[in-house]
């Protein structure tokens, strides 16, 4: 590893942190612009003016916005995400449980989907324009064209209602063994796999096909190597950068964009948690979740950049 690469990586990290700070300002300003009143929303239609007034005072909603921003930022830098307005619970505590569930689902979906997508991509290149390629492209494109709630309901209908193999309600809770948990999340994980498979598979296929045009592949062919070996050993390493990028984008989607699947399968993840608090105008929670989502997005994209840098020989060995 040389200093040039290290410098590039350090630059990325600094940029990422700066971006995160900018996002924190945006999130804070954005949540201030939300219409409606927190106290009113918490108490619902059955609130009395006295109760609303008492609650507003207690929540400290009378302080200026900039003071609340620095309070908030200071707390976060010390690892304190604050207290939820609506149920007075520590946000950190309830959020980590939810985040754990979201990561659990994302992790196992990724474990299945990423290798599967890359393998299918390799196979599609190997049998380019022949029936395996057509079948793989056709089915994955069909799956991505269907809305995710439709895939979800379809899987529920077949595997939960008709065959009773898997539960339709994927609620996970403490006290479940790993096996039980995996059984519970089978259907949402399958739904998400179908949703992200096509994207990653198509990108793998396109990136490798691009490389396959290069003269050194022809050399490898003339050397008498098998097609699959050429693809896996010679073409794929040079196609890693675009593939990693799209994989990271999909991983980020698995963490920040799965609200619909969470709702359908009643999965207690972060998306549902965010929605509940948005509708109650629970600003601290919305801010905390927004910041975590932004951090995940920035972090994964940064990781993709760094992997692309490290795996690129031209950057590792500059002239």
């Amino acid at each position: 590893m040389n200093t040039f690469v290290l410098k590039l990586i350090a630059q990325r990290l600094a940029l990422g942190l700066l971006l995160l700070l900018a996002v924190s300002v945006l999130i804070f300003v954005g949540t201030q612009l939300l219409p409606g009143d927190v106290a009113q929303s918490i108490l619902g239609q059955s609130a009395t003016p006295e109760a609303v007034e008492n609650l507003r005072r207690e929540l400290g909603l009378d302080q200026p916005a900039w003071a609340r921003y620095f309070d908030w930022l200071g707390g976060i830098l010390q690892g304190d995400l604050g207290t939820a307005l609506s149920n007075r619970q520590d946000i950190g505590q309830s959020l980590w449980g939810r985040a754990g569930n979201t990561l659990f689902l994302a992790f196992w979906t990724a474990v299945v989907a990423v290798p599967l997508a890359i393998l299918l991509g390799l196979v599609a290149v190997r049998y380019q324009s022949r029936w395996p390629d057509r079948v793989i492209s056709g089915t994955t494109l069909t799956a991505i064209s269907l809305p995710e709630f439709f895939i979800g309901y379809l899987l529920i209908y077949v595997f939960a209602v008709k065959f009773s193999w898997f539960p339709s309600v994927s609620t996970v809770h403490s006290g479940m063994s790993l096996g039980e948990r995996l059984h519970a999340i089978a259907l949402p994980a399958a739904t998400l796999t179908l949703v992200i498979l096509a994207h990653m598979m198509r990108m793998t296929r396109a990136a490798i096909l691009n490389v396959m045009q290069s003269p050194y592949i022809e050399t490898a062919e003339l050397k008498g190597l098998g097609t699959f070996r050429i693809i896996a050993r010679h073409a794929f390493p040079n196609a890693i950068a675009p593939v990693v990028n799209v994989v990271m984008l999909n991983l980020a989607f698995l963490i920040v964009g799965v609200v619909v699947v969470e709702v359908i399968f009643v999965y207690p993840g972060m998306g549902q948690y965010l929605i509940d608090h948005v509708s109650k105008r629970d600003v601290p929670v919305v801010q905390a979740v927004g910041l975590i989502f932004a951090a995940v997005y920035i972090g994964l994209n940064m990781l993709a950049d760094i992997i692309a840098i490290v795996t690129n020989p031209r950057l590792r060995h500059p002239k």
Binding site: L34, P35, G36, D37, Q40, S41, I42, L43, G44, Q45, S46, T48, P49, E50, A51, N54, L55, E58, A84, S86, N87, R88, Q89, S94, R98, Y153, I156, Y157, A160, V161, S164, P167, S168, V169, T171, H173, V263, I264, F265, V266, P268, Q272, Y273, D276, H277, S279, K280, D282
Partner: protein, 542 residues
């Protein structure tokens, strides 16, 4: 309560026959009540003529098993503190682990719960509640008057954010007059006080729950085992419960929060839960065809409404208000918006689910000619703006469009303005002069009128400011003679119906579904899921 039993000896001969018929199962409880009322028997009295088991449904209770409900209406913002409850999940879970002083039966009679009896002074201002002895909290402590007083005070003091603050406001003092006796004095005569204390926020907690409001410790048939807001809530049977013959048959109860309607039905269909709430009217027919699933629909007090501000032009003109009231096709709306799962309203917020319902008021019909007559007489001719939103009630946008078409038939030009769901309850409802809204009903007629129709009401969403109406409400509230009270309620209903700003096209049913092995289900017009008692009163048949 107790005194009334003394009158039993002088039973009306027809009533005696009715009672016999009812006990032999020839009359449903509801029919019995209706006919008994026709004989002039006050409702609370009539209900007490029947022994509790006269209408037992699908067999005798069986103990054991885990009874599971899949419910809409829970959020990750929920808390175990009864003062904070607004959703039906908290209502149902709360009725399982907590108990109030009183309950109100499906027929609208007062049922003792933690209070054994209640007596009032002749002016209906001083109420003495005798508490049940030997009732244990889940933490082993015995319930005494100190706990009751502390609980009621926590909900009524100045800093309270309790959902029950509105009903506690009329109370002057609460005091423990004995270890097992609580005396409550109200500011004004209030014949409904024992009914109001059945409110689900007023769960008696040890020490009033002052130290730890969200501890989840009560005296109910189940004790809290797990509370994951917005995810799942579990309680197991409490061994020291005082009334195991009536409540708490399953070993454990479990509520899973399933906010997606399709997911609820598939969970029921695949047997993951035994009961679900809020089946959408448009899928009821399909769900009914599924094997092993029973649809239970309950006509309750919940209502879909269009309130007009009586003090804002053009709605300050009673002819215009009447024009709009005659220009709405109620039957059509019940048919299309509720798919028949509801009943037509009559422009006052009370229906037969309330005790002392004035049932001789003629039904207002759709009458375009009459609407046109009143419209012309009002002299108004620019478009009338109706604001609506998806969150006002399910189908509120469609209902507004139907209303618009009905109005066109009567020559009235109505303009619909669709508002965002976000902030609808704080920016539109109770602010704009004409919009779509809903009410979930209140335990008594007085409570409904005091919440939204007397001049001083916080939510007077029709801006109905009438001193004569307020005077009637005050008189009815303090009236212990039920016949006189009925007359007063009839007068009040007529005033709201003919001069008020409420357009009430329909009362919506609660539609719930259970698996066929669930026993003990009985409709309760007080609220969803047998008014929250479904989990503690139902059992699993083997």
């Amino acid at each position: 309560m107790n005194k009334e039993h003394n009158h039993l000896t002088h039973m009306h001969p027809t009533l005696e026959a009715l009672t016999q018929q009812a006990q032999q199962g020839q009359l449903s409880r509801r029919d019995f009540m209706r006919r008994a009322i026709a004989l002039g028997i006050a409702v609370p009295f009539a209900g007490s003529l029947l022994p509790g088991q006269a209408f037992a449904n699908n067999g005798t209770p069986q103990r054991g098993g885990i009874l599971k409900a899949g419910m809409q209406g829970g959020e990750s913002t929920d808390s175990l503190d009864p003062a904070s409850w607004t959703s039906q999940v908290q209502h149902s879970f709360g009725q399982s682990w907590g108990e109030a002083l009183t309950n109100v039966s499906p027929e609208g009679e007062l049922v003792p719960r933690l209070a054994e009896s209640v007596e009032s002074s002749a002016d209906a201002k001083t109420w003495v509640f005798k508490l049940r002895r030997g009732v244990q909290f889940h933490n082993g402590q015995e319930m005494t008057s100190a706990d009751v007083v502390a609980t009621l005070e926590r909900h009524s003091n100045e800093d309270s954010q309790s959902g029950a603050l509105g009903i506690m406001r009329g109370i002057e003092s609460i005091s423990a007059t004995d270890t097992y006796e609580v005396t409550i004095v109200t500011l004004e005569p209030n014949a409904d006080l024992p009914f109001l204390l059945s409110d689900y926020h007023l769960m008696i907690q040890p020490g009033g729950g002052v130290d730890n409001p969200a501890a989840g410790i009560g005296t109910g048939p189940y004790k809290v085992v797990e509370f994951q807001p917005g995810v799942r809530q579990i309680a197991e049977r409490f061994d020291g419960y005082w009334n195991p013959d009536e409540y708490g048959f399953a070993d454990q109860i479990e509520i899973t929060i399933i906010n997606d309607p399709t997911a609820r039905i598939s969970a029921l269909q695949s047997g993951q839960v035994h009961m679900i709430n809020r089946v959408e009217p448009r899928v009821v027919e399909m769900v009914q065809r599924l094997p092993n699933i029973v649809i239970n629909n309950t006509s309750g007090r919940a209502q879909y409404v269009f309130p007009m501000h009586c003090d804002t032009a053009p709605f300050d003109n009673n002819d215009l208000r009447l024009a709009l009231k005659y220009a709405i096709n109620r039957e059509d709306m019940v048919e299309r918006i509720l798919r028949g799962y509801g009943s037509v309203g009559n422009d006052f917020p009370i229906n037969a689910a309330y005790p002392l319902f004035p049932d001789s008021i003629p039904q207002r019909e759709f009458d375009p000619e009459r609407a046109n007559y009143h419209y012309k007489k009002s002299g108004h001719n620019s478009p009338i703006v109706l604001r609506t939103s998806d969150v006002a009630f399910p189908g509120a946008v469609d209902a507004a469009q139907l209303f618009q078409q009905n109005c066109a038939e009567a020559g009235i030009n109505m303009e619909i303005r669709r508002e965002p769901g976000d902030g609808y309850w704080s920016e539109v409802w109770n602010k704009q002069p004409f919009c779509a809204s809903y009410w979930s009903g209140r335990p008594t007629q007085d409570q409904m009128y005091s919440t939204a129709y007397i001049s001083s009401a916080d939510w007077n969403d029709t801006r109905f400011y009438r001193d004569d109406f307020d005077a009637l409400a005050r008189e009815a509230r303090g009236e212990l003679d039920q016949t006189r009270r009925s007359e007063l309620y009839q007068d009040m209903a007529m005033m709201v119906r003919d001069e008020g700003g409420l357009i009430l096209p329909m009362f919506n049913d609660y539609i719930e579904a259970t698996l066929s092995n669930v026993g003990g289900w009985s409709a309760n017009p007080m609220g969803e899921m047998m008014a929250g008692f479904a989990l503690s009163k139902c059992w699993l048949a083997s």
